[in-house]
Symmetry: D2
Subunit: 252 residues, 4 copies
């Protein structure tokens, strides 16, 4: 049987090395989100990059009871499935149409021309061609939010931390072109902002859904624990009947 190789983690007795770094040196020194970046990208993030990556996954941590991933995780928790398997079910619900906008947005933004002078024109052409062919454009608008505070915050941070480059510019140019084409404002949504920033960090498009999955795990954990603790088993879960009755008005 021939050997095969891995570059992720070396396991030796009393020695664990992630991407070349002893894990015990990371513990307490490198934030978990940067350790995740290291594991996924294969390299340590620069400090500002690590902060922005942390911001990205924080922005997608939860979206309440309505996303399909949450419905699946709660439904499984409700039938008595172990909570880890229920969370896994939720993660397994992320796909082309749930989370997938990040990857599709990245693919769009990666078509940005090298020449800065041609970007605006190219964005307009891209949008017009998509509209004419009735192709969906990804990363713009949202069924609940037309001025999503997460998006605004991410774009501000990207600028502050030095990651507002050609991909973010191109995304903004596409949003302008789309708004003009539609005759109403159609801003970048959180998937679009995340996608553009992941492009700035040189992540491959295939990572979009995976990073979204990582981000959403804490939310799914909260939901399956709440379901298991508070609700009757095998209840009929009607999402539209849910009301928030938790705390409000808190600030850091």
């Amino acid at each position: 049987m021939s050997k095969w190789t891995t570059k992720v983690t070396k396991v030796e007795p009393n020695k664990l090395t992630l991407r070349g770094y002893p894990i015990d040196e990371l513990i307490g020194h490198l934030p978990f989100s940067s350790t995740a970046f290291l594991a996924i990208a294969g390299r340590l993030p620069e400090e500002k990059e690590g902060k922005l990556f942390d911001a990205i996954i924080t922005s997608s941590v939860d979206h309440g009871v309505t996303p399909p991933s949450c419905q699946v995780a709660r439904t499984m928790a409700s039938t008595g499935v172990p909570l880890v398997q229920a969370v896994a079910g939720g993660i397994g619900t992320i796909s082309d149409y749930h989370g997938g906008a990040i990857e599709n947005a990245m693919k769009q933004f990666l078509t940005v021309p090298e020449d800065p002078d041609k970007q605006k024109e190219s964005a307009t052409e891209f949008v017009t061609a998509a509209r004419d062919a009735k192709r969906v454009l990804f990363g713009f608008g949202h069924r609940y939010h037309n001025d999503d505070p997460r998006t605004r915050r991410l774009l501000v941070l990207a600028k502050e931390l030095g990651f507002h480059g050609k991909y973010v510019d191109y995304a903004l140019a596409m949003a302008d072109a789309l708004s003009e084409n539609l005759g109403r404002r159609m801003p970048i949504n959180v998937d679009g902002a995340v996608g553009a920033i992941l492009c700035e960090m040189d992540f491959p498009t295939a990572v979009g859904n995976l990073i979204f999955a990582l981000a959403r795990v804490p939310g799914l954990i909260a939901h399956v624990m709440e379901e298991r603790t508070n609700e009757k088993r095998m209840r009929r879960i009607v999402i539209t009947d849910a009301e928030y009755d938790g705390e409000m008005g808190k600030h850091l």
Copy 2:
């Protein structure tokens, strides 16, 4: 249809509130690991608590290609399953015997008597009773590591950050009693250290596997991407034939 309630996230147009905090105020201000703590525990961690929680999940980020969760995730990636579903398969492999030691260790440590003078005696009795009845004790020893650097690092951090309390003491007393009973050193392993610290933070036992699952997601992402990128589809994956050929000797 009657209403039901949730205390996790309130979703309003252009306003998202996690456990009472606007998510856009968390982005870039609260580390992702602390946001995860907030989502799961329902309260903001104290600063030192947040650091220790980050350390805990960092310590379990990956353990190479041998854990069953990694085997499952890579096998699924190898057949062409979308990578998110492959990661979900890996998460769904965490159970009583893979990750489960954390929860079982927590249950043991929660039997600590209130009276500090009785803890050592109680630990010895607990261990003796378990050994006599041939019951497994959880959180001690490891098939690869007898002096796991992650464990040492976590216990040092717990002391530094003020979370070395009765549960950690009790776990150490159990390790001493077990070592004496066996006639050879049987230290706390990483599951035991994580379990004792989660007890110090007042987490319920049911959270053990869920936090382990969160911790392991970045590792699983790295593995499924490596499998998809580097290996032939439907290959026979023999774990014992894997060799690490990545970088070594790197430091923060």
Copy 3:
């Protein structure tokens, strides 16, 4: 590395043997349901046993859009998850409270005393003790059906085919005792009938949910295909808004 063994299937070049039988001799000669029995039980069913096993799995083939397994499978199909993974999600939703009544009913029925003269009394005692301790009894009553035609049909078939033995008797005696205790008729439901018959066939209790899972796969396949074909992606699936508009009044 030491050898390990399997008794399920031997694979040799151009020769496949399931539980000792060449698979090509089974194809077209042994019904799929009996091949499934052979795979699971490790022995060929007797002819009448095979017919009854076929009847059992046919009885659980689908229960419309409301079961949690169907909700999960449709929700996953709706987000773009490949249909096989959506079916897997549905299967993974079967658990203690969804399907689990079969296994729990089997455990009850296996307490039947050997002496036929003591069965009725034992059933009454079992039911009374459970009622007094507010323990749930499994396999009786149904949220939709109080005279389930599937149950009736299965019990008639069990008698015809020679599998109405002590377990079915005991289940009926329990239903009588429970009805008397409650002061209203509480018949065996389909899970109870399936459980009692699986006991008659000497299946272990652990097989209950697995056989239910096998039975439900065709139904889940039908639902995920319908969802993918007819519905918009990422729609809000409210189960209570579903209406049947298929054919009616057909007979073999």
Copy 4:
């Protein structure tokens, strides 16, 4: 909230109707495999069609411990995952490269020209074009079997039962063309035979993996039960170390 519709199963109190047929009329009268056909295709199979569909799923019931679906299911069973969830993990491993050959073979065979005189030529052109472009052809050859008895048996049955039509002819013509192109015999494999017959029955290509999943469930059940019953938890499962030690030489 607007209504939506389903044509699978109507559930009324004490009345269950699958595709228009009362389920209690199917139990014991229609074989499970034909009930599965009814659920999936939305119509009752003709008698000969039902027999052939039964043969198809019987042919794929198990392939020993080596398929990735079995590895995943056994690995999950080994960590303590409930057996239903382990089977679900196995099902969720079926994808483009595991089982997927059926769907891809169907797509090939659906290109058969209407005119019988042109089929042989078209098959040769199809194969030549694929070989020249280094595109994979699906449904031919097998890593273990070069004269698979399941394939032979299925093709004989298809002829006997009146389902050897243009798709099977086209598949055979492709196998001949491929063998000639390669200079060595490259027969239809079991996926190719199943695919061609499913085309004869007018199933859509999307059903290929789903029917394969249904077929494989009994095998996966047998494996997870064997793993749970006979093996130590968290063992290192090396597939190449498995030996068959079950019965042999049995016949119907």
